[in-house]
Amino acid sequence: MKIESLTIRGFRGFNKEQPIDLHPALTIIYGPNSYGKTSITEAVEWLLYERTSKVDRGESKDEYKGSYRNCHIDSAISTSVKVCFSGDEKKTEFEAELVGEEGMNKSVDGLAVEQWPIDADLGAVSKPFIMQHALKYLLLVGPDQRFRGFAQLLGLDELGNAQSDFVSLCTKPESSIPLDVSLFRTQIATIENRLSLRPALKEVYSLYKKGKDSLPSLTTCIWKECTNRVPEGTPRESVLANLLRIRDEAVKKVFPGRITLAPFSADDKTSDSADLQYFVKFASEDLISKYCELVALTTRDTIIKQAEFYNLGVELLKQQPSECPFCGQKLTTAVATHINNQHKEFKEQGERSSSLLNQRQEISDTLSDLKRRLDRCQQRHMSRLVTFLSISASMKELAKILLPKHEPYIQSVHDAIAQLQKVKNNLDRDYLNVSKALTAVQLSVQQSKEDVTIMKDLGQSLVTYSSQIASSVPVISALVSPMSDANEILKHELDSAAGTEDISVLIDLIEKQKEIEKYLEVESILAGLKELRKSVDQYVGSKMLDAVSNEMTADVMGWYDQIRTTGDPDVHFSGFDMDRTKKGDIKSRRVQIKASSYGKDLVSAVSSLSESKLNALGLCLSIATNLKPGCPFSFLFIDDPIQSWDEEHGTQFIDVVRKLVDKGKQVILLSHNKIWLEQVRTGCRSLNGYYYEITSYTKDGPNIIQKAWCSWEQRLDEVDAILKDTTADSVRLQQAEEEIRLVVSDLTSIIYLKKKHVHRDPNKLNSMLVRKSLVECGVPTALTDRICQTFETTDNSHHITDYTAVRERIKRYHCWAHELAKYVQ
């Protein structure tokens, strides 16, 4: 892929849209510093990679935020870069439009695309841009930054990033350890710490420190120590119980109490959640309504008796329907109907009261269930508080044991007692209230004295009680850990006073055997990360070594030798390597740049080479990687390459440019050094590239003017020299013929400007346009015809077949060009 033209609008230093045509071989752009040269390179880099290396490497991303968009551009105009690529005989236009501060909309030939249609992994090939800041980034930086620079240059940056990520994980795993694992580690580490302080258990500690591989020996050793401390012949299953008994008996003599505040288990939390939900929703509208319906049961007995009375009457009436069965009076139809209706109604009322009886039973059951749940909930919370608060009676003795050494702990126990006593009192009070309200409701049901007010009171007291429970949980939970710590301290002090420290540690080791096994496994995994880091370092190091030490060293050396001058002192770059440890392992992320002087190795090229040589080295490094196979780009932007170079090195580099062009690269060379660029044009005269000058810079952007590669006089002199050279071969003669075509185009453009005051780009003139222009300018037809003849053998289309350089013909062309030149003079 070569670039035919690029158009920049509103990007970095560019404001107004500016198209720039690029020559297929060499384009030179001159511009003083800060005139927008680098914006050209960055525009293409941004288009291809969606970001520029300058922004990418900026230490403070905030400072570069929004820096792609030109600050003077009209807010209604978008920032865009268009690049017309040529290759495989077709042209493709890529357009990138800035979205927001860093986003990009892409289109190819006007059609939106997600990704550029480039058949290569752009992250894995070297970027076709050689920039000063990029060179410094490679060499004059710390080892890690240099490694990253090389990795990027060699397409190993993803692997380099992976290494950084693994190194970070392996060296600082703490941030990845979940909280429960951290707490678990702290808990077991406490036992380890106590074990380390017991001289009598030295052997156990030593095996413990050996980690999980020594677990069987550790277990054996622990049991051996345990059996030594219980009566001889104690069966293994009774050893722990014996140890506990021995310890408890000894400790109780010193102090019988404990600081025990049990944490809420998962079951506790589940039960609480279910109970509180039940309590809060208990006095529902439905329940209250059903409860109120029970009032109807107060008249139940009368209704039942009335129903029975009517039952009897109706039964008797079946025998004599027209007479009253009790007095024998005649019954009218109206009375008989009345009796039947009354009977029906009492029967229905009787049935309803049966259903109400069931309803009363259900409500009684519900109230009993509530009572059970309340008692269970209260018991669950109270037992924890009562157990803990039992220590308050022994605070004086506790203080004697813990003071003055552990004053903060005794203070924290005091505070906890005060807090939890308050919690207990509140819970007791609210439980009592809810119990009273419940009893009142139960009695009302039993006595058929249902009252909506007492049911609502029960509901309210349940809500208050639930709220009290809910607010007590975090208060208690917050104290669990400090009280556990205080209890541990008490335990140690009691063990110390009772002489049971060894037994106490052994009990913990046995009781927490499974946890200790898991702990050792966790520690083993964490310790093993060092090994993982080493594997990653060695692997990545070997990949980098492969990439830098063999082919790359030779390639870079080849280009470096091009820039060496004969007068150079013999202090030179001598290859790449990776730093190694004394054992020969590759050091992590350290690319070594070797240097030598008069056959002796120097410490490092970075400390030994002058800035100009380092600059040359960086340049060669970029060139070498850009020429590696697999790079989809045939173009190479070289931005201000000769900074800090002396004249001779600058001259040497002109050969490098020519060689790059010979190797098929399209070179775009940018510099602030006008004199050197003139030398490049002279040195590459035959390439006839494009030359641009940035003549000024305003808020509209750089003013870029295309100038002649060289003057038409120089070109005619060159032709003259070739024609006089009797040894000039067909290639040189062809070059002379090509020069004549360029002279003719230049002269036509100049004549047209003089006569018509209109600039015509000489690069875009062909035979037809030259004829038209010369006729318009009044050049005699005979000369115009002759001039146009020069195109017959020099236009590209005529070169394809049957072209032969004929010295006599070129001489004629030369004369005609001189004739045309008179119209300029």
């Binding site: 692997l159 990845s176 995994i525 964490l526």
Partner: protein, 55 residues
């Protein structure tokens, strides 16, 4: 079968060089939009599995 990306090929080679199953797991978890976060999460998961294991 989808062709492996360059980094996937490297990680595959790296996995072959290690015998530790934990290390293999960590290397295999290096993927996604934020691979660093993925390996950190995987390490956390591995450790939690150990302490929560029922014996």
């Amino acid at each position: 079968m989808t062709e492996l990306s360059k980094i996937e090929k490297y990680l595959k080679e790296l996995t072959k060089l290690t015998e530790d199953p934990v290390h293999k797991r960590l290397i295999a978890s290096y993927k996604g939009d934020n691979p660093k976060q993925s390996i950190e999460a995987e390490l956390g998961l591995i450790l939690e599995e150990v302490i929560r294991r029922e014996d």
